[in-house]
Symmetry: C2
């Protein structure tokens, strides 16, 4: 087999200018979250396969990259798979693997917290920056390996967690986009408890909720009429569907109404205690903290794909773009699956790849990279002077200046142009008689 | 299957204090290499399996984590593997995989350069920081997933590349270890061309070199007598072995001798033109650039495991430790395997995990993390004042201060102690009547 030059399908190589942008954005994210008291932690890119196929990941579980067992373990599993008739390829694949690449940072965080909780403060404010992997159909802006930046607060059951997460994430995005003159964001806040109460109030049974929510989640693509058709096509009675869709129509007609009055009109009888008050407190308090060019709104249409959410859910959209750039929510029962004891948890994840794609498309340029100097040494006339040049370079580097020392090439013109393109402003050719 | 709390065997979770150390060291490395004009690039953790099983990786190829094909592709390969009698498990594993986790950053760099060379300057100075994966036997300080920091200069055939790499790597290590008061390093410089010339001069045939070098590479563990026994046991004639070992005995008796006289006495007839002059130039020039507490020495016993090295090889050892903390060399023929055109290349890799292990063992502590404040809000008496507290926090965060706002817990004493342990120096409890 011959070598392949391109990266694995759906994955990215980063040129120096891509990497400069990524590092710059990560720097802003780290600095913002540090001020909010989040501590960066790290988890391996690989996880035990049973942790990733345990129904925490929803649709993402279909997209996992499985890593083969090795040596004798692989041999044994291979024999078993070869002998077992009628084993599905899916099951055979899992049998032959003992680990897989993580598809998000939330499952590893829950495992991590369960494993280390005796060494961690409570509440614990975690920042994770890491690559995740999904064998998704590649498309523009969607990759099979991508960086996620998550903040999570573990051990705080109160809305103070939600408020901190919204404020911190909004501020990080505000700082990132301010540099390219983009400022219009909307933070959508929903709640799984309100979502369920509305479905119950419309007459759906709890076992129907998942199907209903999957259809509702398509609203931004298919509209309310599309949701109506799909629910009806799904065999739900027109009465239920009409009542349910009516709630959202009412919301769309007056999207600025406060959650208390909306809940009063739709699902007051069915809602869990506290949900409405918490939503109001989040909107009021977080609304007072975030920058005035960020809109914070109650959004009862918000679903979020993952079924592990138990309460508040959030999403941030950016004006003039059709996709969200951050999302998250409260998942109070997921850590319990790892350690047997339910632990309140709430997280917000930034869509890092989408953000850097937008910034790049808007022409972001590195600034303040500092002075850059190049010495091009003529190896014929100045070969005896290399030590002298390097010594000068060392002095300048000690001052923080970026200095390169290279042999002067035959095609000096091209060499100089290429350095200028890289941002080198002082380029000197060194010959035997050049004064330094 | 139930969930597993611990990380995958041989892999690491990083607590906040581990991560702070790692980020700090990476910051020093990035800043040092930036001054030398290295640009950070990025490659995916996964590679095409044929790139990793193409004999570039030596022993490391046996340690690769293979990633299964998916869907129809996996199904087809599974059928083939099930039908093909006598297929080895090794071969079956490769058939069922289309990609694998990279075991180093050099193979991905060569693929990357071949893929992007039209967009890159020449010479190209690359910095890569990334995780690599090897299914090695886990042991103290050796992991199955670990971070590598490599600098490489591609397109410079002259020793100026070697000199820059030695100076930059030495300076990075010097800065990192200065903080814990450690300063004694030795940079060992060898050359594959000298190594081959010595073997040829002793009478070994080129096809015997690999075996001879594998034995020689164990010298730091088994000593010169061990090397003698193993070579003899390998069936090589006592004359050859005695002559060969004699070269190294002579070196050990006078390790400070200059390379010119050593080569003169051992292999002057067999050596490629230029090798000796280049070694001398590297030692003289780089020796003048590096800090006075770093020793730079010619070391003809240096082998370096990878067979892809073509010329200079380096390794850095730290006094009082038995292992190297950096290594690299020139590999002028590896990029050619990806793009069909040989391209000079030389790299130096820092043993990041070993360095952070040493620093942690020496009690490295984060300093200059800045002011850290905590507000603990009594949810009963001060629930109406949350907005006020958050607004104060926002003001302080805008000044760069790290501030956390949390509900005051019942066990306030433990909560305060835990925050103090995290470095919070100003901790205030907020009740209904507390003045802000």
């Amino acid at each position: 087999m011959s070598f392949v030059q391109t990266p694995v399908k759906g994955m990215q190589d980063f040129l120096p200018e891509d990497m400069a942008l990524r590092q710059h954005v990560l720097g802003l994210i780290r600095d913002t979250y540090r001020r909010y008291g989040f501590s960066q932690i790290g988890t391996p890119a690989m996880e035990h396969i049973q942790n990733l196929t345990g129904k925490n990941g929803g649709e993402n579980e279909k997209l996992i990259f499985k890593v083969e067992k090795r040596g004798r373990e692989f041999e044994k599993s291979l024999q078993k798979v070869q002998q077992e008739e009628g084993i599905s390829p899916e099951e055979a694949g899992t049998q032959l693997a003992d680990s897989a690449l993580r598809y998000d940072l939330t499952v590893p965080l829950c495992r991590y917290y369960a494993n280390h909780k005796q060494d961690l403060p409570s509440p614990f404010k975690a920042l994770q920056i890491g690559d995740v992997f999904r064998a998704d159909r590649p498309q523009k802006g969607r990759f099979r390996a991508f960086t996620q930046c998550d903040i999570d607060i573990i051990g705080d059951p109160s809305v103070m967690a939600e408020i901190e997460l919204i404020a911190a994430t909004s501020e990080a995005l505000h700082r990132i986009f301010a540099e390219v003159g983009v400022s219009g964001f909307t933070v959508h806040v929903g709640d799984r408890r309100i979502l369920r109460a509305m479905a119950r109030s419309a007459g759906f049974a709890p076992e129907e909720f998942d199907e209903v929510f999957i259809i509702l989640d398509k609203m931004d693509k298919i509209g309310l009429d599309g949701v109506t058709s799909e629910l009806t096509a799904g065999g739900f009675s027109p009465e239920k569907v009409e009542k349910y869709v009516g709630f959202f129509r009412m919301f769309q007609e007056d999207p600025d109404q406060d959650p208390a009055s909306f809940i009063e009109k739709t699902c007051a009888d069915c809602i869990e205690a506290g949900a409405q008050q918490e939503m109001s407190e989040i909107l009021t308090t977080a609304g007072g903290m975030i920058s005035s060019d960020i809109t914070l709104m109650f959004d009862p249409t918000l679903v979020r794909g993952m079924s592990y959410y138990t309460g508040t859910i959030f999403e941030i959209t950016i004006d003039n773009y059709s996709f969200s750039i951050a999302g998250g929510g409260r998942y109070d029962r997921m850590i319990g699956r790892f350690c047997g004891q339910d632990t309140p948890a709430c997280g917000f994840s930034i869509g890092f790849e989408r953000i850097v794609t937008i910034l790049r498309d808007l022409g972001w340029k590195e600034s303040g990279a500092g002075e850059k100097k190049a010495y091009l040494v003529d190896r014929k006339s100045a070969s005896g002077r290399i030590a002298e040049v390097f010594s000068l370079a060392a002095k300048e580097r000690a001052e923080g200046i970026c200095v390169v020392v290279q042999p002067l090439k035959k095609n000096a013109k091209f060499q100089v142009e290429s350095l200028e393109k890289e941002g080198y402003t002082q380029i000197r050719k060194i010959y035997g008689d050049t004064e330094l």
